[in-house]
Symmetry: C2
Subunit: 436 residues, 2 copies
């Protein structure tokens, strides 16, 4: 039953006629309640498949659904991972039966201490650092893995410098599908190890991340049966971020927050959390109410924040220069949609310096016991700045998303913390040191 | 209402009479359904308090309960963390209201690939690496924190070289209680950073772990109001490991496994998982059935395994020399109880070399996408050896516990994995490299 499917970049042989050969190889319900891939720009719909660009206007394709009725009780009876929302994702109804990393349903912590520190009355941290490979990427990769499986892909791959590589290599190992992970050859050894433990096929590419990315697109176009999670199965992959929005609403007691602060790299996560909130409203799972969405960037890579502040609709690409490397996308694909959403909801996009990123990491660790990576430091630091500049209302219920964990970017803070004292191993020495 | 309570090592002023002053400062239900601290050796009971050694025979004190009736439905209606079992822990009924790290309810993964590799028909991995600070220590520390709070402790402290330090510093930060963490001064910088991000009071002690430990006991005896999690509130702390056993049974569908493999450092975790299984049987939450418990050690620190193989009841302390540092306790406090349990249930204690520990890490990563630390490598490697030597029945349902995560012991595998190829950033170079 397995056959090789060309993972083409645009739709060619698989236009949405029912008698297409590529369609017939898909099993019934392979993508759950997903109906088609719809262009975000022109609305043109194409058949579900390994496509990411609209054949009409080259706009980005997004999964469109015919949702069934879904009740809170059905969701609550599901497993403690993202598959509790499987009816709202492009995955088959038996998704739990296929080996996957079972990510999600991470902690939503009431942040009493951080809230007090920042003067925010009602603050929550959604902590995605406790996912299987310690970042939100496990969510999107789990959805991409399901698509790769249903499309009979033979290779599961990505270009990445960090979190995504970990998530792809781990998920592929568990699923028993061959993985190939492409990284810049100058990547630090620890980051290489963190992917190489899972896969024999870590490929170092002489060049920067843009070069690696370009190579991945080239391979996706040339080779058959390769599923590049963030290239040719990107529409399915991106849907995984919706689960962050679903979980926040459910964990608040089926209620949307008033304000939410989200880091912006490609911008995909922010747009998908907004999509999730809109879907929950349409499905009647939460009450319709206004909410404000805020985007967070590091100043060293802040093309969306710059456009927001300039009041323009065009993102001017930049060459990243920041310690927040997991946010360092100079030409963010979904940047314009981030602008749309933040403006439409009355939110904002803001950016902070690398020193403020570091301060954000330590602030979150000292107040809530969460050790985040530079992306989380950025989001917490931006939250602080948003309050100080009056852009965020400290009286409204606010959620901030932490997307990753500090052990992956240890260097960012290594020279800024350490032992308070070094003492001889006896009680008088301890007393003399004056600890506390 | 706060008062300083001497955190004494043995019971003096707080014998179990109802009119004792120390008792009256405890609020009603401070320790849930816990009745007393009972000596594991002689059964003597003393009042609940900051004590860990029996005043009669100096045996270890353990929490004893008068359990209420508990139903599966009540547990299932609880939160997705250890507090779903709060009725079975020495914590108040409103424990969720007090800021804590909300650990537990981690993944139980069906290990198809690892099972196939080892020839085990029905294998599961309980993965505790996704806890808030990435080890099972978050469970025990959460219970110790509750005890410290109820006892009005002013300082939350521990001696540690790694996982415990992270868990204590993080939990203390979130709870807003002062933490002091003692480490050997020669500890690697990354491990220091991983605790120092959370606390200002990281104290480096000139000496080895035994020296640090001794200093902690000295301070616990001299200072008032210090709760050392693994010293004077150890009985409460240790109960947290029971939740691993509860979760495994619940996640299997309220059923005990036939065999379980658990790493042995002090031996506490293994004894508490057995205690959890026994409690579930007594409470009627699972069917009574035989199960075998297996202990895993690294050969470089295998005093319990040596005693098991020698058929003796006495643990001969050793000087640890292994890469599995989180298991490197040369004189394990609960070693004799581990021997008891493994012999009584028909299990065994086994040990493996450091090379086999490394192989175990990579085996788990390659088969199930879980990057474990050296302790997990030890457990997986021992599982393999138990099958090969015929000590574990490959036809029976088996659970193996992973207690921590690989980023904390990266050095163990850093020189053993890496890029498969380094290529120029173009398609012909990729083809020429012959990947796959």
């Amino acid at each position: 039953m397995r056959r090789r499917i060309p993972m083409s970049t645009v739709v060619a042989e698989t236009t949405p006629q029912a008698d297409q050969p590529a369609r017939t190889t898909l099993r019934e319900g392979a993508f759950g309640h997903a109906r088609a891939l719809a262009c975000r720009e022109c609305g043109h719909e194409v058949a579900l498949g390994p496509h990411y660009a609209c054949p009409e206007c080259f706009g980005p394709l997004e999964v469109a659904y015919d949702f069934p009725a879904v009740t809170r009780e059905e969701v609550e009876a599901g497993p403690a991972n993202i598959w509790r929302y499987k009816a709202l994702l492009p995955v088959p109804t038996d998704i739990e039966q296929s080996p996957n990393t079972e990510p999600g349903y991470t902690r939503l912590l009431k942040a009493h201490n951080l809230g007090r520190e920042l003067g925010i009355a009602n603050l929550w941290v959604k902590d995605d650092s406790t996912n299987p490979t310690n970042s939100f990427k496990d969510r999107v990769v789990a959805c991409a893995l399901s698509a790769a499986r249903e499309l009979h892909a033979k290779v599961f791959a990505c270009p990445s410098t960090g979190n995504l590589a970990n998530a792809v290599a781990a998920a592929g190992a568990r699923a028993g599908i061959k993985t190939v992970v492409f990284i810049p050859s100058n990547l630090e050894k620890p980051k290489q190890v963190n992917s190489a433990v899972y896969t024999n096929n870590l490929v170092a590419v002489e060049g920067n991340y843009d070069d690696v990315n370009k190579l991945a697109s080239e391979i996706a176009g040339e080779e058959e049966g390769w599923a590049f999670v963030n290239v040719n199965v990107r529409p399915f992959y991106a849907e995984g971020s919706k689960t962050l929005g679903y979980e926040i609403a459910e964990q608040l007691g089926w209620r949307l927050p008033d304000q939410i602060v989200i880091p912006v790299a490609s911008g995909s996560q922010l747009t998908k959390v907004d999509k999730a909130f809109q879907e929950l409203i349409k499905l009647g799972l939460v009450e319709d109410k206004p909410y404000k969405v805020f985007g967070a960037q590091a100043t060293g890579c802040s093309p969306v924040s710059v456009a927001y502040k300039d009041g323009v609709d065009v993102i001017r690409p930049v060459k990243p220069d920041t310690i927040a490397k997991s946010l360092a996308i100079g030409n963010p694909a979904d940047g314009i949609y981030v602008l749309d959403i933040c403006r439409r909801t009355g939110g904002a996009v803001e950016d902070i310096s690398d020193d403020e990123v570091r301060d954000g990491i330590l602030l979150l660790a000292r107040t809530e016991g969460i050790f985040t990576e530079t992306a989380g430091g950025t989001t917490v630091g931006v939250l602080k700045k948003l309050v100080e500049t009056g852009q965020l209302d400290p009286e409204l219920e606010t959620v901030v998303i932490n997307t990753g964990m500090g052990l992956k970017t240890l260097d960012a803070v290594a020279d800024h913390v350490g032992a308070a004292a070094t003492i001889a191993p006896n009680y008088p020495a301890f007393v003399a040191a004056g600890i506390l």
